[in-house]
């Protein structure tokens, strides 16, 4: 049974595409056949994050116009043969395709791949409707900010109305230090409001930006950072494994922070 998962958020810039790229890659690394579908027509980014931009010949729009076969449009990843990308057209807008057409494409992909991951655009308009139309489950990405959580809440409502029952939450870009200082919403705060099961927490990490710019998903790097581990854990949880949530605190517990803490306690 193919898992068709949409990654969405409502608000822009919270890390949907980063999550899509890394989860897709992590699942592929685990030996799954993964197809990533970029549903962000007109503002495609997923190819950049995967470093596949220069390999795109055909896009989803050409497939739908029957100018090429679906296989021709799929971009294979050199590093990870289990992963393919169905790119979106850059020269069109979201209205270029309809939910039924996306369904058609995704169902065709579902014949061959074990995971179809759809990267949804921001907003709740046509592009979003296209992206969620074929999905059987959803991952809602949010950052611990009030605007992003509010939008996520709206999106969860829309997903439920669409009949998507399996909805999981990814909290992205959390800063443990700020949470500790009570300057940021904690994981509990967000979870309490959204009332959907949590599947992963990804700490804020500068290496995410580096990897994005290089077009190399974090999970591929040699010495994985904590964010990469978090992505891998989400992939494993998607597979049904029970993985403990990483102690984000522990990773920061190097000599300096320990020293600082001692100093602080002395001062106070």
């Amino acid at each position: 049974m193919t898992r068709i998962i949409v990654i969405t958020s409502g608000k822009g810039g919270v890390g949907k595409t980063t999550c899509s790229a890394n989860l897709g890659m992590a699942l592929a690394k685990m030996g799954r056949q993964v197809a990533l579908v970029d549903a962000d027509f007109g503002l495609r980014n997923l190819d950049l994050l995967l470093g596949l931009e220069n390999r795109i010949v055909y896009t989803a729009v050409e497939v739908l116009a029957r100018e090429c076969r679906l296989e021709q449009a799929l971009v294979k990843d050199k590093r990870q043969p289990n992963l393919v990308l169905l790119p979106a057209a850059q020269n069109r807008t979201k209205d270029a395709v309809s939910p039924d057409q996306i369904k058609l494409l995704v169902n065709a992909l579902a014949q061959k791949y074990q995971y179809v991951i759809i990267d949804s655009p921001a907003g709740i308009e046509m592009g979003f409707k296209n992206a969620i139309a074929p999905a059987k489950e959803a991952l809602v990405v949010t950052t611990p900010e009030i605007a992003s959580v509010r939008d996520a809440d709206r999106v969860v409502g829309l997903l439920e109305a669409q009949g998507i029952k399996r909805i999981h939450l990814i909290i992205n870009r959390i800063k443990p230090a700020m949470v500790r200082a009570n300057d940021m919403m904690s994981v509990q705060d967000v979870q309490e409001l959204l009332a959907i099961p949590l599947i992963g927490v990804i700490p804020d990490d500068e290496r995410v930006i580096v990897s994005t710019n290089r077009g190399e998903p974090l999970v591929l790097s040699e010495n994985p950072c904590i964010a990469a581990t978090a992505f891998e854990n989400i992939a494993r949880r998607l597979e049904g494994e029970a993985v403990d949530f990483i102690e984000i605190e522990a990773y920061q517990d190097n000599i300096f922070s320990r020293l600082r803490r001692i100093l602080w306690t002395k001062i106070i």
Partner: protein, 354 residues
């Protein structure tokens, strides 16, 4: 308090207010006494400003009327030594009453004699177009999903009252499909439209065609007869959702910020109330809003509005919001049932705003 500063502000804004007004009902010209009673609570100037801007945006439909408000605001401010224990720092009366038709946008669900009756809104209430149609069904699905535990025995027959609404085969199929998912079976249908009757008959439903007058009669009978059943929802009302109901609403779950519940009766949230709740939307000031944890964006009862204090509360108790002549007040549920309930029930009928 100096309210001069407030006036230019109003004037400056007054030109655009009709467009700004996001509140759907603008029909009621509120009485100015309500505002006067408002100004005597202890408001900082900025607050007053916002009150005025708010009032203007929701309730006034002509500049002429609007001048009344200005005059009222200028009137001297008397400090209010009310003994009410209010958790709210601001009460804004003067909310326009909702139009009677508002709640009818929804499909009504009723249970009678072992069958479920669905009543579609008449075309005069909700013009037929694709967007209205899909919106209506989305709400309907939500409604079904969130209260199915109580309603449905497997394969309950459903009777659809389509009224003067035109339904084609595709729409009927869609409906049958939705109902099928909920283990309900569309069995029969009554309509005044010939096309609908034909479509339904070809699909094998038993059809009852009624004249237009009968439909009207049927509907007026319904509106007059007993108040609507309470709507029981077992779900989180999320941002962007708006629940409208012509009776009381009970929510087993949270009302999240950005979500709205508008009921002609009481609102009871067995969970956290963090969004907007509007009880007694048709004008009944006796209506109540109850919640296990009261942290609303805004509370409205009939034509009164209140919003939560700026700083968030640390402790929460089950609470009840009710209307006093001074505006909306909140009491702990345990205290409320002892004291206020009797008081409210004893109020002479004449004082209720209709």
């Amino acid at each position: 308090m100096n309210s001069d500063a407030a006036i230019p502000n109003q004037k400056a804004n007054s030109a655009g207010f009709e467009i700004e007004s996001t509140f759907p009902q603008t029909d009621v010209g509120g009485d100015s006494t309500a505002i006067q009673s408002e100004t005597d609570s202890v408001l900082p100037e900025a607050e007053l400003n916002s009150v005025i801007v708010y009032l203007k945006s929701i309730s006034r439909s002509t500049d002429l009327e609007f001048k009344d408000v200005v005059a009222d605001v200028q009137s001297p401010v008397v400090s209010n030594t009310s003994s009410h224990s209010s958790l709210f720092d601001l009460d804004l009366p003067e909310l326009p009453l909702s139009e009677k038709t508002l709640d009818k946008i929804q499909i009504q669900i009723k249970t009678e004699e072992g069958r479920i009756v669905l009543i579609l809104p008449a075309e005069s209430q909700l013009p037929a177009c694709e967007s209205n149609w899909s919106q209506m069904w989305q709400q309907f699905k939500l409604q079904l999903n969130s209260s199915d535990r109580l309603m449905v025995k497997a394969n309950t027959p459903v009777h659809l009252v389509a009224g003067d609404r035109l339904l084609d085969t595709r729409q009927l199929q869609e409906l049958a499909h939705i109902l099928g998912e909920m283990h309900m079976q569309l069995k029969s249908l009554s309509t005044s439209r010939r096309q609908t009757a034909i479509a339904a008959a070809t699909m094998g439903y038993s059809v009852e065609q009624v004249g237009r007058e009968n439909i009207l009669h049927f509907q007026s009978q319904q509106t007059k007869s007993s108040p609507t059943e309470a709507l029981y929802l077992e779900k989180t009302v999320r941002s962007g959702m708006e629940i409208r109901h012509s009776g009381s609403v009970i929510i087993l779950g949270d009302l999240n910020p950005g979500g709205t519940v508008i009921a002609d009766g009481d609102i009871l949230v067995w969970g956290r109330l963090r969004g907007i709740a509007h009880a007694g939307a048709a004008g009944n000031r006796k209506c109540l809003i109850m919640a296990l944890q009261m942290e609303p964006t805004q509370l409205r009862i009939a034509d009164a509005v209140a919003r939560a204090p700026e700083k968030s509360l640390m402790q929460f108790y089950p609470e009840v919001a009710y209307v006093t002549p001074q505006g909306i007040r909140i009491a702990r549920a345990i205290d409320f049932s002892k004291s206020q309930l009797n008081k409210i029930n004893q109020q002479p009928y004449g004082s209720i705003v209709k």
